[in-house]
């Protein structure tokens, strides 16, 4: 009889939504594509091409930046990435997804993947001169920017 009472209580909670917030809290972690939508897409636009004159395109820069140490630091330390509410591992997954999904490369992309530990090692150091650092990286990697 006690078992039946408990099952009735569970049914009651399910019907009235008492368990709702608890279940939602359990499902808070999102896939990298959804994290891109929530953390980046508002400014960088759905395909990463940005808005001319205001938000630079990331499509041509993600892959070359990921190939050099200073570029890897930059990708983690830009304020939108380093100050996001994502964990180090989630940010690493998101960066890997962006390089694979938003790069201009016609072929399958081969690159060194980010790990949570690598992200953690860069993330604590603030990036003060975002624009100037990006310019230096563009010059160093020889990228022609299409969307200024």
């Amino acid at each position: 009889m006690a078992k039946r009472r408990i099952s009735v209580l569970i049914l009651y909670a399910a019907l009235t939504g008492i368990g709702g917030p608890w279940l939602c809290a359990m499902a808070a972690a999102f896939e990298p594509s959804v994290n891109y939508m929530l953390q980046c897409m508002g400014c960088h636009t759905p395909d990463g091409s940005g808005a001319a004159g205001r938000v630079p395109s990331i499509r041509s820069t993600l892959l070359p930046f990921s190939a050099v140490a200073a570029g890897r630091q930059f990708l983690v330390q830009v304020p939108g990435a380093s100050q996001s509410t994502l964990s180090d591992a989630e940010l690493a997954d998101l960066l890997n997804w962006m390089i694979e999904s938003l790069s201009n490369e016609p072929r399958a992309v081969v690159f060194k993947r980010f790990t949570g530990a690598e992200v953690a090692s860069y993330r604590g150091k603030p990036l003060v001169e975002v624009g100037a650092t990006r310019e230096r990286l563009l010059n160093a990697t020889g990228i022609e920017e299409t969307n200024k």
């Binding site: 009651y12 019907l15 009235t16 939504g17 939602c24 499902a27 999102f30 896939e31 594509s33 959804v34 939508m37 929530l38 953390q39 897409m41 508002g42 400014c43 636009t45 759905p46 808005a51 001319a52 205001r54 938000v55 304020p79 939108g80 100050q83 996001s84 509410t85």
Partner: protein, 176 residues
């Protein structure tokens, strides 16, 4: 008709042998309890809301896209474009949708799923002034700027500093 009497008596006696008066009371009690729980279901609450306009005569129907309570508007901060000549996902004529925007998630009570919603502003005409809605779910204070919806996104549109008119709530994906 005696065969019918015998059949009825037989079946009634069979039921009486199988069940007790207490079981009848128990099932009646379950039905009464179940009926009392029905108004607590989300569907019943949604139907009740449909019948009640708000105190100022505005719709409070959670299924009406022009009502602030509509589920998609859970993170909005602005005038609803549906009240300004557009819709919940399109801009009114004569305005332009901002490319830069704020993105959040909302829970759809009909299918129980979370959706990613993009709150693109419509720009190019003076403020609409109708159906102001400020719900701010998942909004952060300005000192966490990347998740704050308090910005005027029209200032980042193709024409610099053009006027803000109203806001849309566009579904852009499933939050999974």
């Amino acid at each position: 008709m005696s065969w019918f009497d015998a059949l009825t008596e037989g079946s009634v006696r069979a039921i009486a042998r199988r069940t007790s008066r207490r079981s009848l009371l128990a099932s009646l009690g379950s039905m009464l309890m179940g009926a009392s729980v029905l108004p607590l279901l989300p569907i019943a609450r949604g139907a009740a809301a449909a019948e009640n306009p708000g105190p100022d005569g505005k719709s409070t129907n959670a299924n009406d896209p022009n009502a602030c309570e509509y589920w998609r508007h859970c993170g909005i901060d602005g005038f609803l474009c549906g009240c300004c000549g557009g819709s919940a996902s399109t801009c009114p004529p004569g305005t332009e949708m901002s490319a830069i925007t704020w993105v959040g998630t909302c829970h759809n009570p009909d299918d129980g799923r979370m959706y990613v919603v993009s709150y693109n502003d419509c720009c190019g005409k003076s403020a609409c002034g109708r159906c102001l809605c400020n719900r701010n779910e998942r909004d952060t204070p300005l000192y966490i700027p990347f998740q704050s919806n308090d910005y005027d996104w029209c200032s980042a549109s193709s024409e610099a500093n053009i006027a803000y008119h109203c806001s849309t709530s566009r579904i852009v994906g499933l939050a999974k």
